[in-house]
């Protein structure tokens, strides 16, 4: 590739000259990068090894970056556009509709009966996860960490639900409630067994109970791993000072594992609008209004061919949820870091 310099002093403002100089600059850049000998003169500072390294990096990164660009950046940008479009079922095409989808979503929030339940249930699920499940995960891990009686058995049984599919645990739980519980009532002559899963007054409470039971072990391996990483010297020194296990938990273990607890809490916040509480696994698309959560409502909107016309409204809802969730999550993260800075050990 030759790189003949355009005549100096020519007028660079014309389009033709601009193109000429542009091509010249590109050629220079190419020669400097690739390092080809031109007219017997080496012009590049880049070695052959460096070129191979660049080619290797390009080959290694090309596929993951393309997937990321298309299915993360592309999808999210498209999601924003989709929120301002409407679907024409007759032509199967989307057209711009301004803020119509947002208006429709707000109208639905005021008019639909399930929305009140969705707010309430989503908050209940979040509170149960944060106030009941999370403390149990940590306490269970500490019990096992201190090698108390049966800790190995408990470790296995607490970890077991996290490797089983939710559809397996739901099937076991649901079928026992529907077919096994009446058997127990009959055995102990307690009368007729309640229909806990389908009764509107008990259904959501049963789902919460299931969620507590199946998540009881939760992240035991994660927290146990963290506790095992704490240098024994710290605990030995505290033990020589006569620290009790309860104080050890409050003053040493908890502060040291707090950075991970804070990530856990932030994840809970980030997933606030997405939590379903296994409603779809229990009921499919037929859950009663009383059991609705935002995550469930959102999920069933877009399923299958019937969901295609609802994509724009669902995208608008998603955009609104994101606008609420992002600042809350980032503020929580900032607050957590202020409250308890991470400690390296």
């Amino acid at each position: 590739m030759s790189r003949k310099e355009p005549k100096k002093g020519t007028d660079r403002s014309s389009l033709r000259e601009k193109v000429k100089w542009g091509i010249y600059d590109l050629k220079c850049a190419f020669h400097n990068k690739v390092g080809v000998r031109l007219h017997g003169k080496k012009t590049s500072t880049m070695t052959k090894a460096r070129v191979y390294e660049k080619l290797f990096l390009a080959a290694v990164l090309a596929f993951p970056l393309t997937i990321f660009c298309v299915f993360y950046i592309g999808v999210n940008i498209n999601s924003i556009f989709l929120a301002f479009k409407e679907y024409d079922s007759a032509t199967g095409k989307y057209f711009w509709s301004g803020f119509g989808n947002f208006k429709q979503f707000f109208e639905m929030m005021n008019s639909e009966a399930f929305m009140g339940y969705a707010w309430k249930n989503t908050f209940i699920l979040f509170a149960v996860n944060l106030i009941i499940n999370l403390p149990f995960h940590i306490i269970n891990a500490y019990y096992v960490y201190k090698k108390n009686p049966l800790s190995k058995t408990f470790r296995f049984l607490l970890f077991l639900p996290s490797i089983l599919s939710s559809v397996i645990t739901v099937t076991m739980f649901k079928y026992f409630m529907v077919y096994g519980l009446p058997g127990i009532y009959k055995l102990f002559k307690l009368g007729e067994a309640p229909n806990l899963i389908y009764d509107p007054s008990t259904g959501f409470a049963t789902i919460i109970g299931y969620s507590f039971w199946v998540n009881f072990g939760g992240s035991i391996i994660l927290f146990l791993g963290l506790m095992n990483r704490i240098p024994p010297d710290i605990l030995e020194a505290a033990s020589l000072d006569g620290i009790t296990p309860v104080k050890e938990f409050w003053h040493i273990i908890l502060p040291l594992i707090f950075p991970t607890i804070s990530i856990y809490i932030i994840n809970l916040l980030a997933g606030f609008f997405a939590q379903q509480g296994s409603l779809y696994t229990f009921y499919g698309t037929d859950a009663r209004n009383e059991f609705y959560t935002f995550g469930y409502y959102y999920y069933i909107q877009v399923l299958g061919e019937a969901g295609v016309p609802k994509y724009p409204v669902a995208s608008a809802a998603g955009l609104l949820f994101t606008v609420v969730t992002v600042p809350v999550t980032l503020f929580a993260r900032w607050g957590m870091n202020k409250l308890c800075p991470s400690v390296d050990y």
């Binding site: 089983l164 559809v167 076991m172 959102y298 969730t325 999550t329």
Partner: protein, 298 residues
């Protein structure tokens, strides 16, 4: 009573309360699994009369029959309805789990290795992008993702779905990056002197050095994909997996799906659960021991 005795007393009470609580939890877990297992060996009539007791006779043939009788209906364009039985369901489960795991782990490992071991302008950008993706929650991507997939022909396509798992972001990337950072570059230098290419160094020298972490991540990914039944509901209706089949059975009218009734569904539950339990048993030390990298700071 001395102060230390009171303190030890508190700890003793805590231990007893936790022992009781964890025992109750364990009993419910064991009881439920045992109930499912025993019920799966019952005849339909036996289960209907005695849903709690031991089987009067163990019907091992239930496990053979579900492979012949239980099926999922899918609509194939141009053909119509088609029944898919357990062998094919397992095949789809296996293809989906292995394909997604391989693509996901290899992509993440390659990017993590490049970012950890090479100096180039994009390296810090990629690391930061991953952190941003992890901490900024984006709700409601699903409609857009589905629209895009339909537009480019990725919807209802098993191979395409595996390809989609090739992004580098996520916690696995962080773990692999942290692991590669701890591996000395001297091994690569030695291989370079022997004439190894960059690719050979990555594949034959560096990846084997972190095989423990790659193995545990591959196992957890495999289990996640094996258990994933939502994928059929959302992205891939024509290739039902075994987990999806179980979802379909448990949400259908029990009399409409089989002659075997509830025991057949519980058989299906056991069959879907079994490969994971076997995998867990074989790699139990990796699961219970090696997952100590949870302490990574975010």
């Amino acid at each position: 009573m001395t102060k230390s005795k009171v303190k030890n007393g508190k700890w003793g009470v805590f231990r007893i309360v936790m022992l009781l609580l964890l025992s109750v939890y364990s009993v419910t877990m064991i009881f439920l699994i045992a109930w499912v297992l025993l019920s799966s060996f019952k005849a339909k009539s036996d289960f209907n009369f005695y849903p709690l007791g031991f089987p009067k006779k163990f019907y091992f043939e239930n496990y053979v029959n579900i492979f012949r009788e239980l099926s999922v209906q899918v609509t194939v364009p141009g053909i119509g309805q088609r029944s898919i039985y357990f062998p094919e369901l397992f095949l789809y489960s296996l293809l989906y789990s292995v394909g997604c795991t391989a693509v996901s782990i290899i992509s993440k490992a390659m990017v993590a290795y490049a970012v950890a071991k090479y100096r180039f302008r994009l390296a810090p950008v990629l690391y930061t992008v991953n952190i941003i993706v992890m901490i900024v929650p984006i709700v409601g991507r699903l409609p857009s993702e589905l629209q895009l997939m339909r537009a480019i022909g990725f919807y209802d396509n098993l191979l395409a779905l595996c390809i989609m798992k090739g992004s580098f972001t996520g916690m696995d990337f962080m773990l692999l990056h942290a692991t590669f950072c701890t591996v000395s570059w001297e091994y690569a230098e030695a291989a370079k002197i022997d004439g190894a290419s960059h690719f050979t160094i990555m594949w034959s020298v560096m990846f084997p050095m972190v095989k423990q972490v790659i193995l545990i991540l591959a196992l957890t990914n495999f289990i996640t994909y094996w258990n994933d039944w939502n994928v059929n509901v959302t992205y891939m209706p024509s290739y039902p997996t075994a987990a999806y089949a179980l979802y379909t059975f448990q949400n259908s009218n029990i009399n409409s799906i089989s002659m075997g009734g509830v025991p057949y569904v519980l058989c299906a539950c056991t069959v879907v659960m079994l490969p994971i339990l076997v995998l867990f048993y074989v790699f139990r030390d990796h699961f219970m021991g090696e997952v100590s990298f949870g302490g990574l700071k975010g």
